[in-house]
């Protein structure tokens, strides 16, 4: 749908919304419709040019003093449209796809709640057809997924056995689950970890085993538990310079690298960060031929040495060092 038509739908929704929210700050109106305040301001100006006739009292009006001085919106002469129009097909589709996706990992009575919500949305749209759109969720151990969903739904503590890939270690912890979300193709659990005594982010596919405990989760979510925290944002951590081969540029995004330059053949030179040198080395070695370290020199040498040592186990040159 072209942008001006979407704007028509939004502005038609604003007219009754503003009548039932007289005095709403402009910024809040913008947030409600997921647009910038300047855009909201422009749309109010357009609304003032519209109405059921062309004379005063027939055109929509706003209390301009309140808008200019206090930044709040009072709508007038819009009584001809007291109710919103039906939820449009495309609006319903957007929400229905999202609800169907949520339903895949519903626990307890959540699936029933989602089904009744879907039915009410279909009624709101006047058409019951859910869009033929599927989101295939990252697969994992179903028992772990179910335990995570159940602990969240019932607000119970969870005992997990977790593999920390950065440190290559396996530990057992008791956590209070706060949120589970999917990002960049992986599912994460943010939780208070009673072992670390802090908010931690766990990749669900690295939870080896999970058991819902009877004890209630007692801590509340920490707003800082975001994926961004997985990768150091301050860039104080160690970094290396790598060459990313043509065709492997998805690695740049995956590891949040900073591109320094791009060669004519498509090779990207980029900076890659990590808090743990062993972890960085494993990532580089995993993508042999696609990622190549060019600096610093001692890191280049470490990768070479590790690979030579590994080769020794196969050549029989130094088998005792292999394992």
């Amino acid at each position: 749908m072209n942008p001006s038509l979407k704007q028509v739908v939004r502005m038609l929704a604003m007219v009754p919304y503003l009548q039932s929210n007289q005095g709403i700050p402009l910024a809040e109106l913008a947030r409600e419709f997921d647009i910038r305040p300047a855009q909201a301001q422009r749309e109010l100006e357009v609304l003032m040019m519209t109405g059921w006739g062309e004379f005063h009292g027939e055109l929509i009006d706003f209390d301009l003093t309140a808008l200019e001085e206090e930044g709040v919106v009072h709508i007038r002469d819009a009584e001809f449209m007291p109710r919103p129009l039906r939820v449009s097909r495309s609006e319903a589709s957007a929400l229905m796809v999202a609800l169907q996706t949520l339903r895949q990992s519903a626990a307890g009575d959540q699936a029933e709640i989602i089904d009744s919500a879907l039915a009410k949305l279909a009624a709101a749209a006047g058409a019951a057809e859910a869009p033929a759109v599927d989101v295939v969720e990252p697969r994992g151990d179903p028992a772990v997924q179910e335990a995570v969903a159940e602990a969240l739904a019932r607000r119970r503590r969870l005992r997990i056995v977790y593999v920390n890939e950065t440190r290559d270690e396996q530990t057992e912890r008791v956590v209070d689950p706060h949120r589970a979300f999917t990002q960049a193709g992986h599912r994460y659990l943010s939780a208070w970890c009673h072992r670390a005594e802090g908010e931690r982010l766990f990749r669900v596919d690295r939870i080896v085993a999970a058991q819902v405990l009877d004890e209630p989760a007692t801590t509340e979510a920490d707003s800082r538990s975001r994926l961004e925290d997985l990768f150091p944002a301050d860039r104080d951590a160690d970094s290396i310079t790598v060459e990313v081969a043509p065709g492997a540029d998805w690695l740049v995004e995956q590891y949040r690298m900073e591109v320094e330059s791009e060669r004519e053949d498509g090779t990207v030179v980029a900076r890659m960060w990590g808090t743990d040198p062993d972890w960085i080395r494993r990532q580089v070695m995993r993508f042999a031929g696609r990622l190549r370290v060019v600096g610093p020199e001692e890191f280049v040498e470490q990768v070479r040495a590790s690979a030579r040592l590994a080769l020794g186990a196969y050549d029989g040159v130094s088998p005792e060092q292999g394992v």
Binding site: V8, Y17, L99, I114, P131, A184, V323
Partner: protein, 319 residues
């Protein structure tokens, strides 16, 4: 220009909403400035197009007549047809819909969701997503073709687009009756009947080049009842493990590999013999090479060779 059109469409909706009577075309024209200023022919064209565009937005203008019009066609919007009926959501239903409204990481879809929520709020519903706790997926759509394909799929409208072949990098024009869409690992695919190949096909949206064009009318085809897009999509899943590798893993190392073990046998205090199942040799070889000397392949030979090739690259030894 765009703003004039926005104003015109809004005025048309408001004019028709404000009366319960049928209005004739002349009455409508008389009350909207832009229509008045147009020539007769330009007005006719514009009015027809405006009605069509409102219909696509789900605002169906009713055509009819009554005695006072003397048989002349009239137009109206019946409130009972176009207004949102009263819908009362429970706290839990509102919570899941509120959560659903946060899932889209795509400007267009996020705005559609928010507008729907605003409409439901206007009639008295309150949304508190924290009233339920569940696994929140993230729905992303970075592909420029997403909006048009999503729209066409929902309206069963045939489309045409340039599609870049993965092998050659060359584009060809494809004609598709979209049946449905699938998202897998943050990539969107559209499946349907390929009019050129005369068979069901799956297309990756990121390989669609340029604009998606309509190639027919909405509702022109039916989606076959036995169309199973999930079946087609299953081809996107990682293949099921078929082979077994025997690895030597240093004690207390490579935990992610050990996670997948089907058998573990202690060799001595420094190492274990671990069996893992796998489907794609290259993927497992990547994971093994990452661990350097901590993981050594005992069998099969094909995997062993793949790991050695990677290690040679890393060691700077020419193969």
């Amino acid at each position: 220009m765009a703003q004039r059109k926005t104003e015109r469409l809004m005025n048309l909706v408001f004019t028709l909403l404000a009366t319960e009577q049928f209005l004739t075309k002349d009455q409508i024209r008389a009350s909207i400035a832009e229509y008045r200023e147009d020539s007769d022919a330009a007005f006719e064209r514009k009015f027809e197009r405006d009605k069509q565009e409102l219909r696509e937005l789900g605002i169906e203008i009713e055509v009819g007549s009554h005695d006072a019009l003397g048989g002349v066609a009239g137009y109206r919007l019946l409130r009972s047809d176009v207004e949102l009926p009263q819908i009362d959501l429970t706290v839990e239903e509102a919570a899941v819909i509120g959560l659903a409204g946060q899932l889209w990481d795509h400007a267009g879809m996020a705005q559609e969701s928010r507008t729907a929520l605003a409409k439901l709020k206007t009639i008295g519903n309150r949304f508190d997503p924290s009233a339920v706790r569940m696994i929140e997926s993230r729905l992303t759509a970075h592909e420029p073709a997403f909006d048009d394909v999503f729209d066409a799929t929902g309206r069963r409208m045939p489309i045409a687009f340039e599609y870049r072949a993965r092998s050659t990098g060359e584009s060809t024009t494809r004609h598709l009756e979209p049946w449905g869409m699938v998202s897998y690992r943050d990539h969107w695919y559209v499946g349907g009947y390929d009019r050129d190949r005369r068979a069901p096909r799956l297309f990756r949206l990121s390989r669609i080049v340029g604009d998606v064009r309509p190639h027919g009318r909405p509702g022109e085809y039916e989606v076959p009842e036995d169309a199973d897009l999930k079946q087609v999509a299953r081809a996107l899943h990682p293949p099921a493990p078929e082979a077994t590798a025997v690895l030597r893993i240093a004690a207390g190392r490579a935990h992610l590999l050990r996670r997948r073990a089907t058998a573990v046998e202690r060799i001595d205090p420094t190492a274990d013999r671990v069996e893992v199942e796998y489907a794609v040799t290259g993927d497992l070889a990547d994971e093994i090479a990452a661990h350097g000397p901590d993981v050594v392949v005992e069998s099969p030979a094909e995997l062993r060779d793949a790991v050695i090739a990677r290690l040679r690259t890393l060691a700077g030894v020419s193969a």
